[in-house]
Structures are given as structure tokens and as C-alpha cells.
Amino acid sequence: MSMEDILQIRDLYVSYGGIEAVKGISLHVERGKIVTLIGSNGAGKSTTLKTVAGLVRPKSGQILFEGEDLVGRSTDQIVARGVTLVPEGRRVFPNLTVKENLRIGAYLRKDDYSRDLAWVYELFPRLKEREWQPAGTLSGGEQQMLAVGRALMAKPKLVMMDEPSLGLAPLIVKGIFSIIREINRQGITVLLIEQNANMALKTADWAYVMQTGSLILEGTGQELADDETVKSAYLGVKK
């Protein structure tokens, strides 16, 4: 637990009614790094990110962002502090144009965001071409680009991404991962959830494995990629 952690989750418990989805996890994300959280369906990955974003209230535990506890804060306050979430399933606003979707990403900003808009268009030239199109008419891959671009418009310090590669063709997935590295090079810390463990472990500086609400393993991306359990359970490698 160094001072360089931008995010520390301590002993977090989250439940929906009677169902315990997250059972006392602790993790930390170092500033400037890419950290990934992998695990199978229903492990509690999305719940963890939603709790950090303030969409779900934890039962107990602490979520320290730059040393300040986010638990109990509203989502807009959390966004204002520099934490954004690219939600599972993209969730672009289909009735808004591409440009309006990006504009709403900067909803809380009072400063001029035109440089960030230009940067997002530079990262995703496709979005520039489709600026005036309703987002609902974009392809799945384009919608994912928009969801990522939208999160960047808030000028975040930490971007959390929930399965950005879900349902995309391999080539597009590669593109998304190279964008993630590019975003990270610009100084933004990334917390990434993936089912595509292979790509995630290659990209991440540090990785956690989550199983039925608990963290069962952690290590560098390379260490986990070489781990026998991970290989058989998440990388589809036969023993």
C-alpha cells in the first residue's frame, strides 16, 4: 500500500437484498498503471466497479480515492473527483448524436473541453465522421469507441472499463486495447474488467482474479498468465 495508490478498496462487502455479490475484497490501483480484474460470469466484477462509481451502496468497507473515502458520495460527486466508468454493454445514449454523447461526457466541466474533444476525435476518427449521427445508428464497435471517448471527456484521473471488448470482432478488440494503452500513456490510470483474460493480462501492469465475490489471486499480468489455475480456468488452456 504505497502512497502512490490512486484507488484503494478495503474490505468491501456489497449485497443485493440477500445475495452477497462482493465478499470482503481489498485491492489497490497504483497511479498511472493499468490494472485488470478478471473472473467468470457473476463473480462480482461489475458490482465492484459500480460501487466505486457510487451507483451501488456497499454494505461495509472503504473506497479510498486519492486518500478520500468515496463511500456515501453521489455519483456526480465521484465523477467530479475524476473517476469515470465505461459501463458494461456500452450504454451510449441512442437518441443523442455522437457529438452530444461526447458533450454529455463533459457534463460537469466548467472549463473549455474542446481540446479533449479534438483528442477523442484523434483517437477515434470514425466518431468525427459520424459526429451528427444519432448514436443508436452506430455499429457495436463504434458504440464502444463512443463509450470510451465519452468517459474521457470528463478529463478523468481514473477510468474504469467494464468489458470493453464484449461482443466485438478480434480486430476491433485489438484496436480497443491499443487505445487503452494510449489513454494510459497520457497519464490516465485504468482499471479494466475483462473476460478476454488473454488480452487483459498482456496489457495490464497488475491483475486480480475474482471468483464468486472474492479475490483469489493477484500478480503482474505475466505472472497470472503463467499461473496454472488461471490458464485452465480463464485462458482456455488445457492442463
Partner: protein, 292 residues
């Protein structure tokens, strides 16, 4: 044609008034998927405030007072009766809306003693007479459509170009993701009710220029018609509500002009049934999937 002209003028005017009310239904439905049954009563309350305030205050005070008080009423209704039920089943919200409607009518009954309150001082100028192509009518007939269209343009600008407007449109599709953008859902919903009630108040000011009194049930018919207009145009759509309202206002008056006054209300409700059967999404409605 000369014979129908007064009816057409009245139709356009009634259409404008329905439009100002129906926008409130459509905005609230758009964001909460709630049919705000109390909306017609809010319209009626605006009329009562006008009657009471104009009895003692000059119009340049009483008109703004009506607009502000009605907007505040819309705000309070949402905070008190709908917000606590945000995560409850939609049916609870509906029932709460019906409750609010009766509550307002009962409070109005208490206030007025159940007697229709005469509009003794109609708003000057707009209630003056003018002659249009040989037909004599109150000035409000001409003012209404112009003012309505102007307000609709402002509203469209608000929802397309301003921050809160874009937030509103985003929240109308996806609360959770809108929150992730930093949109404060509570403010956006309150804002929606304030705008809807404000427009209903404008509609009320225009409407009661043509009516001798305000009764506690005065909001029922215009409220219902405006609701039909919103459904007809495709509930959730602002242009839809406006087009629907003008079509209904015009049809009703033309039916009257042709000598079938008895059927003019029936026509509106028959139209509702036909629309629901043939094209439930209305003229400008979006996909049916997220409507119900």
C-alpha cells in the same frame, strides 16, 4: 369557408392551449414513464391563482405570480408524491398521481367552497376583440398559436442546446448511465416538472381568457384532451404533442362548425382508441419497446 373561419380560428387557439398542457404530459412521461394525472389539476390551480391574485394585484404582478406559483406546485408535487416512489413499481407511481389529482381538487374545493370562481377581470388586451377576414374574435385566439410556437421553439432549443436539456434527454433513456456522466437525476426531474407546469400555467392564462369561471373540475377536460394529444403525437415527443394538440383542437372545432357539436368530445376519445389500436406509438413516437 367563411362560415367555418371562426371555428378554424378557435381550433387553432384551442390547439395551442392543449399543446401547452400536453408538453407537460410528454416531458414527464419521457423521463419517468409516468402519466401525470395531476397535470390537469395543476392547470386548474393556475386558473384559480389567476382569479384570486388578479382581484387584488395588477396584472404585471399577478401573471408572473401565476407562472411562478404553478411551477413551484409542479416541483413540490414531484418531490412529495413521486420522488419517494422512484424505485417502486410503476403502478404505485400512477396511483400516487391519481391521489395527487384528487388531493388538489379537494383542496381547491375547500378553498372555493365548491363554487366556480368567476373570472371577473380577464387579462386586458388579449381579451380585446379583433376582426380577422371578417370574423370577429378575441385577440387571444391569435396570440395563443404565436405564443405557443414561440415557447415550443424555446423548449426545443433548451432540450437540444443546453446542458440541462441534453442531460434531460440522456436521463430519459438511461438514468444510470446519465448519472455516470455526472447528471444529477433529481435536478433534471425537478426541472422537467417545473418546465411542464410553467407551460401549463401559460396555457391556463390563455384558456381562462375565454372562460367565464374556474371550477375545481376545470382542468379535467382540457387535461384529458391534452393527454390524448400527447398520445396521438407519440408520447415522449415534444413536436408530436404539439402537432397532436393542434390537430385535435382544429378537428373539434371544425366538427362543431359543421353542426355536430355533440360529437366533438366523442371524436377526440374515439381518436384515442383508434390510435391505441392502429399505431400505439403515435405520429412521432419512438420504438414501442421502451414505452410500456
Amino acid at each position: 369557408m367563411q362560415k367555418l373561419l371562426p371555428y378554424i380560428l378557435n381550433g387553432i387557439s384551442a390547439g395551442g392551449q392543449y399543446a401547452l398542457i400536453s408538453i407537460g404530459y410528454t416531458l414527464v412521461y419521457g423521463i419517468l414513464r409516468l402519466i401525470n394525472f395531476a397535470h390537469g389539476d395543476v392547470f386548474m390551480v393556475a386558473g384559480l391563482i389567476l382569479v384570486y391574485s388578479s382581484a387584488t394585484l395588477p396584472f404585471y404582478f399577478s401573471i408572473p405570480l401565476v407562472l411562478v406559483c404553478t411551477a413551484v406546485l409542479g416541483f413540490v408535487i414531484e418531490r412529495a408524491a413521486y420522488k419517494p416512489l422512484r424505485s417502486a413499481p410503476r403502478m404505485s407511481l400512477m396511483i400516487s398521481a391519481i391521489g395527487v389529482s384528487y388531493l388538489i381538487q379537494n383542496l381547491a374545493f375547500y378553498l372555493t367552497g365548491g363554487l366556480p370562481q368567476p373570472v371577473t377581470r380577464p387579462i386586458p388586451w388579449v381579451s380585446g376583440m379583433v376582426t380577422v377576414l371578417g370574423a370577429s374574435t378575441k385577440r387571444v385566439t391569435l396570440v395563443t398559436p404565436v405564443l405557443t410556437l414561440a415557447l415550443v421553439l424555446v423548449l426545443l432549443w433548451l432540450t437540444r442546446r443546453t446542458r440541462i436539456g441534453i442531460g434531460m434527454r440522456a436521463a430519459s433513456r438511461d438514468f444510470e448511465t446519465a448519472q455516470l456522466m455526472g447528471v444529477k437525476i433529481n435536478s433534471v426531474i425537478s426541472f422537467t416538472f417545473v418546465v411542464g407546469s410553467f407551460l401549463a400555467a401559460v396555457g391556463s392564462l390563455l384558456y381562462f381568457t375565454n372562460y367565464p369561471n374556474v371550477a375545481i373540475t376545470s382542468g379535467a377536460m382540457p387535461g384529458l384532451k391534452a393527454f390524448v394529444a400527447a398520445v396521438f403525437g407519440g408520447i415522449g415527443s415534444i413536436p408530436g404533442a404539439v402537432v397532436g394538440a393542434f390537430l385535435i383542437g382544429l378537428s373539434e372545432e371544425i366538427i362543431k362548425g359543421l353542426g355536430y357539436s355533440t360529437f366533438s368530445d366523442a371524436f377526440t376519445f374515439a381518436l384515442l382508441i383508434v390510435i391505441l389500436c392502429v399505431k400505439p406509438t403515435g405520429l412521432f413516437g419512438e420504438s414501442a419497446a421502451d414505452k410500456v
